[in-house]
C-alpha cells in the first residue's frame, strides 16, 4: 500500500465531488483544478512524471483556463445561482444516482475480480521513452489526432464566428 497515493486519490475524489455540485461555475472550476493537481501527483507516484507535467500544463493550465475565459464572457449573475439551486431539488438525483452507483459497482467488481499484482518498483518512464513510443509505433495515431485537433479548431472557429457581430 502506498499511503501517499491513496491520499492523493482521496483529495481528487473529494475535490471532484465538490466541483460537480457547485452552483457558481468559477468555484466548480477551482475545485476541478485541485482535482487535476491531485491527479498529477498520482501520475508522478505511478511513475509517469512526464504525464504529470502535461496534466498540469495542458489540462490545468490550458483547458481549464479556456473554461474560465468562457465563464467570464457569459457573465452569469445572482439569478443564475438561484436557478442552479432550484435544479438540484431532490428528485433530480435519484435516477442518475442509481445509474452512476450501478456503474461504479460494476466497474469496481470488474476491475478487482482479478487483482493486479503490485507493480514492480521499476524506474519511472521518462519523456524519452514516451517520445520514442509515440513517434515509433504510434505515429499513425499522432497523425490522426492532428486531424482531430484541426477539425476541432475549424469547427470551433466556425461555430463561434458571428458572436457579437451582426446576425
Amino acid at each position: 500500500m502506498n499511503i501517499v497515493l491513496e491520499l492523493y486519490g482521496l483529495i481528487a475524489i473529494g475535490a471532484t465531488a465538490l466541483a460537480i455540485t457547485r452552483t457558481i461555475p468559477v468555484h466548480g472550476l477551482l475545485y476541478l483544478v485541485v482535482s487535476l493537481l491531485a491527479l498529477a501527483c498520482m501520475f508522478d507516484e505511478l511513475g509517469a512524471p512526464f504525464a504529470a507535467m502535461l496534466e498540469i500544463i495542458v489540462y490545468a493550465g490550458a483547458i481549464i483556463v479556456l473554461f474560465v475565459f468562457v465563464v467570464m464572457m457569459i457573465n452569469l449573475g445572482q439569478p443564475d445561482q438561484l436557478r442552479e439551486k432550484g435544479w438540484f431539488a431532490g428528485g433530480a438525483w435519484i435516477g442518475p444516482g442509481v445509474i452512476a452507483a450501478l456503474l461504479m459497482g460494476l466497474l469496481v467488481y470488474g476491475t478487482q475480480r482479478s487483482t493486479m499484482a503490485v507493480g514492480t518498483a521499476g524506474t519511472p518512464i521518462g519523456p524519452q521513452q514516451v517520445g520514442l513510443t509515440l513517434y515509433g509505433p504510434y505515429i499513425l495515431t499522432v497523425e490522426l489526432s492532428s486531424f482531430l485537433l484541426l477539425a476541432g479548431l475549424v469547427s470551433a472557429y466556425h461555430i463561434g464566428r458571428r458572436i457579437g457581430g451582426k446576425s
Binding site: P96, I99, L106, R113
Partner: protein, 625 residues
C-alpha cells in the same frame, strides 16, 4: 438436337425466318406498347400493316422453302436457347416446323394479316387504336409461338399469352361494365381449362421426363396406361375450355362483347382452334387412349347439337356466329374423337376462312347500321350493301355446307364420313347438326338482307375492309377444292400434305352418305326460306319459356351461377373481413406500436440520451462481468 447443316440454303433460310415470323408481330406490339398511344392512327395502322405483312411473307417463304427442301417429310428444329435445366429435365425455347405446324402457321399469319388489315379500317376512329393493335399483334405472336413451339412448356407460354390477349380484347371497351364482366368470365372459365392443361402437362413431364413434343410422342407410349389416359384427359379438358366445348362453353357467346375483328381473329379463326391443333399434334398419344377419344367425340357431338339449338333462337348477329363457332368446333372435336385428324385439321382451315369472313361481314354491317346488332332491327340490307351481302352469303353457304361450291361442304363431308365409321349415332347427330346449321344461318341471312328496311345504312366499307373480305370469299369457296372425295374428283392436296405427320387418309365411304350429306343443307335452306321469307309484317323473334332457356345457352349460365358463383359469393361475403388478414394486421399494429414507443426515446434532450448510454453501458457490463 442435331445441328442444322448450314450448307443447305433452304433449310438455313427457314431457320432464320422462323423466329422472325414470331418476332415481327411481337416487335410491333412492343413498339405500340412503349409509345403508349402517342403514335397517330395512320402511323399505327402502317406499322401494323407492315409488321403483319412481313410476318405473313416470312411464313409463306419459309413454308415454301421447307416444302421444297430436303427435310420436307420430317420436322425442322430451330433451338433458340436453353430455357431451363433442372436435374434431368430440360426445357428449350425451340421452334419446330413440320407439315402440321406449317398449315397452322400459314392460317394464323395469313388470316391474321387479312383480319388486321380489316381491323385497321374498322378501328381507325377509335381513340385507343394503339392499345387495340398492341394486344392484337401480341395475340398473333403468342398464337404463332403456340403453333411453332416444339416444347409443351413453350406451347403453354403461347397458350397463356393468347388467353391473356383474349381477356384484354374482350374487355377492350372497358368503360361498359358488361364488357368487363364478359372478359372476366372468359378469363375465369378458360382458367379452369388452363389449370387442367397445366396438370396434364406436369403429369406427362413426370411420366416421360421431358416435355419436348417429339420425345413425348416417342417415349410417351411406354408410360403406364392409366397415367397416359389421365394425362390425355387433362389435356383434353384444357383444350375443351379453350375451344368452348360443353361444359366449359359459356364464355364464348359473352366474348362477343369485344370489337368484331377480335371475334373474327380470336374467337373464330385461331385461338379457339388451338385445342384442336394441340390434340392433332399429340395424336400419337391420343390414339392410345380410347377412353379420352370417346370422351372427346361425345363432347364434340353434344356441343354440335346444343350450340346449334341455341343459335337457332338468338337475335344478336354476333351471338349467332358465336354459337355457330362452338358448333363447328364441336365438329372438329368429333373428328378428333373419331381419329380423323385430317378431317379435323381440314375443317379447322376452312372454318378459319369462312368464319373470319362471316365475322368481317357482320362487322361491316354493324358499323354501317350504327352499332345495331339485333337482326330483327335490320332488314332489306341486300340493296344497301350488295358486296357485303355477297360476302356474307358466301360465308353462310360455306358454313351451311352447300354442296360442291363451298369449302365447308368438303370438310364437313370428311368429318361425317369418319363419324359414320365409328358410330352411326355420331353420324346422324352430326348430320342433324348440319341441318340445324343451315337453318339458323339462313334464318339470319333472310331476316337481315331481305324484307323491308327497318334501319338506315350509311357510308361505305373502304378498300381495307373490302379487300380482305374478297380474298376470304374466294378462299371460302375455293379452299375446299384442295381436298375432295373420290366420288366427285380425285383431289387430295390437303391430306397428301399432312399424311407424313398424321398418317394416311382412311378409306373412302360410299356415295350414299355423300348424297344424304349434300341434300340436308339444301333442305335446311328451304325450311329457313319457308319460315322467314319476306312477308308484309316485320318478323319478330318467337317467345316462349322454352325458347328463352334455349337462348340463354340451355340454362348453363344459370346453373353455373347457382352452383359455383353464388356459393363463392356467399363465402366471400361471410369472409369479407378476411380472418387471415387479421393476423397480418396484428403484425402491422405491433410494428407500429413498438415504433412509436421507441420513437418516444428520441426526446431531443441530451441528458436523457446520456442516461440511456449509461444504462446501456451498465447492461453491457452486467453481461460482460
Amino acid at each position: 438436337m442435331t445441328p442444322i447443316p448450314a450448307i443447305v440454303w433452304g433449310v438455313s433460310l427457314v431457320a432464320t425466318l422462323l423466329p422472325l415470323v414470331i418476332a415481327c408481330p411481337l416487335f410491333v406490339s412492343i413498339i405500340l406498347m412503349l409509345t403508349g398511344g402517342k403514335l397517330p392512327a395512320r402511323a399505327t395502322t402502317l406499322l401494323v400493316g407492315a409488321g403483319m405483312g412481313l410476318c405473313a411473307l416470312f411464313a409463306v417463304i419459309s413454308a415454301y422453302s421447307f416444302l421444297t427442301g430436303p427435310d420436307s417429310l420430317g420436322a425442322l428444329h430451330v433451338v433458340l436457347w436453353n430455357w431451363m435445366q433442372v436435374g434431368n429435365f430440360t426445357a428449350q425455347i425451340a421452334l419446330s416446323l413440320d407439315r402440321l405446324s406449317l398449315v397452322m402457321m400459314l392460317v394464323v399469319s395469313c388470316v391474321g394479316f387479312l383480319i388486321l388489315v380489316y381491323a385497321c379500317a374498322y378501328m381507325y376512329d377509335d381513340p385507343d387504336i394503339a392499345r387495340f393493335f398492341a394486344y392484337m399483334t401480341l395475340f398473333v405472336a403468342s398464337m404463332l409461338l403456340l403453333v411453332l413451339a416444339s416444347d409443351l412448356l413453350a406451347v403453354f407460354v403461347g397458350w397463356e399469352g393468347v388467353g391473356l390477349c383474349s381477356y384484354l380484347l374482350i374487355g377492350f371497351w372497358y368503360g361498359e361494365q358488361a364488357n368487363a364482366v364478359a372478359a372476366r368470365k372468359a378469363f375465369v372459365v378458360t382458367r379452369v381449362g388452363d389449370a387442367l392443361f397445366l396438370l396434364g402437362m406436369l403429369l406427362m413431364a413426370t411420366a416421360v421426363g421431358s416435355l419436348d413434343i417429339p420425345t413425348l410422342l416417342a417415349v410417351g407410349p411406354h408410360a403406364p396406361s392409366t397415367t397416359l389416359t389421365l394425362g390425355m384427359f387433362l389435356l383434353l379438358g384444357g383444350a375443351m375450355a379453350k375451344s368452348a366445348q360443353v361444359p366449359l362453353q359459356t364464355w364464348l357467346p359473352d366474348a362477343m362483347a369485344g370489337p368484331t375483328p377480335v371475334s373474327a381473329l380470336i374467337h373464330a379463326a385461331t385461338m379457339v382452334t388451338a385445342g384442336v391443333y394441340l390434340l392433332a399434334r399429340l395424336h400419337g398419344l391420343f390414339v392410345l387412349t380410347p377412353a379420352a377419344m370417346l370422351a372427346c367425340a361425345v363432347v364434340g357431338f353434344v356441343t354440335i347439337l346444343l350450340a346449334a339449338g341455341s343459335a337457332l333462337v338468338q337475335t344478336d348477329i354476333k351471338r349467332i356466329l358465336a354459337y355457330s363457332t362452338m358448333s363447328q368446333l364441336g365438329y372438329m372435336y368429333l373428328a378428333l374423337g373419331c381419329g380423323a385428324w385430317h378431317a379435323a385439321m381440314f375443317h379447322l382451315v376452312t372454318h378459319a376462312f369462312f368464319k373470319a369472313l362471316l365475322f368481317m361481314a357482320a362487322g361491316s354491317i354493324i358499323l354501317r347500321v350504327h352499332h345495331e346488332q339485333d337482326i330483327f332491327k335490320m332488314g332489306g340490307l341486300r340493296k344497301d350493301m350488295p358486296w357485303v351481302f355477297t360476302a356474307f352469303l358466301i360465308g353462310s353457304a360455306a358454313l351451311a355446307g352447300l354442296p360442291l361450291i363451298t369449302a365447308g361442304y368438303f370438310s364437313k363431308e370428311l368429318i361425317l364420313g369418319s363419324a359414320y365409321e365409328v358410330s352411326p349415332i355420331f353420324w346422324a347427330g352430326a348430320l342433324f347438326g348440319a341441318f340445324l346449321t343451315s337453318i339458323y344461318i339462313f334464318r339470319c341471312v333472310f331476316i337481315v338482307f331481305w324484307g323491308g328496311h327497318r334501319t338506315h345504312a350509311h357510308g361505305r366499307s373502304g378498300m381495307a375492309m373490302a379487300l380482305p373480305m374478297a380474298i376470304l370469299s374466294v378462299l371460302a369457296i375455293a379452299g375446299g377444292w384442295m381436298e375432295m372425295p373420290d366420288a366427285i374428283a380425285n383431289v387430295h392436296i390437303f391430306s397428301n400434305l399432312l399424311s407424313p405427320v398424321l398418317g394416311a387418309l382412311p378409306q373412302e365411304h360410299g356415295t350414299s352418305l355423300l348424297i344424304v350429306g349434300s341434300l340436308v343443307p339444301i333442305a335446311g335452306v328451304t325450311i329457313a326460306w319457308t319460315l322467314w321469307r319476306p312477308r308484309d309484317v316485320a318478323p319478330t323473334p318467337a317467345e316462349s319459356p322454352a325458347i328463352a332457356t334455349l337462348r340463354a345457352d340451355w340454362g348453363f349460365d344459370t346453373l353455373y351461377d347457382r352452383i359455383f358463383v353464388r356459393p363463392f359469393m356467399v363465402l366471400a361475403h361471410l369472409n369479407r373481413r378476411d380472418f387471415i388478414d387479421r393476423f397480418y394486421d396484428l403484425i402491422a399494429a405491433l410494428t407500429q406500436g413498438s415504433g412509436q414507443a421507441i420513437a418516444r426515446l428520441q426526446s431531443g434532450q441530451v441528458r436523457r440520451y446520456a442516461g440511456w448510454i449509461a444504462a446501456g453501458t451498465v447492461a453491457a457490463l452486467c453481461l460482460a462481468v
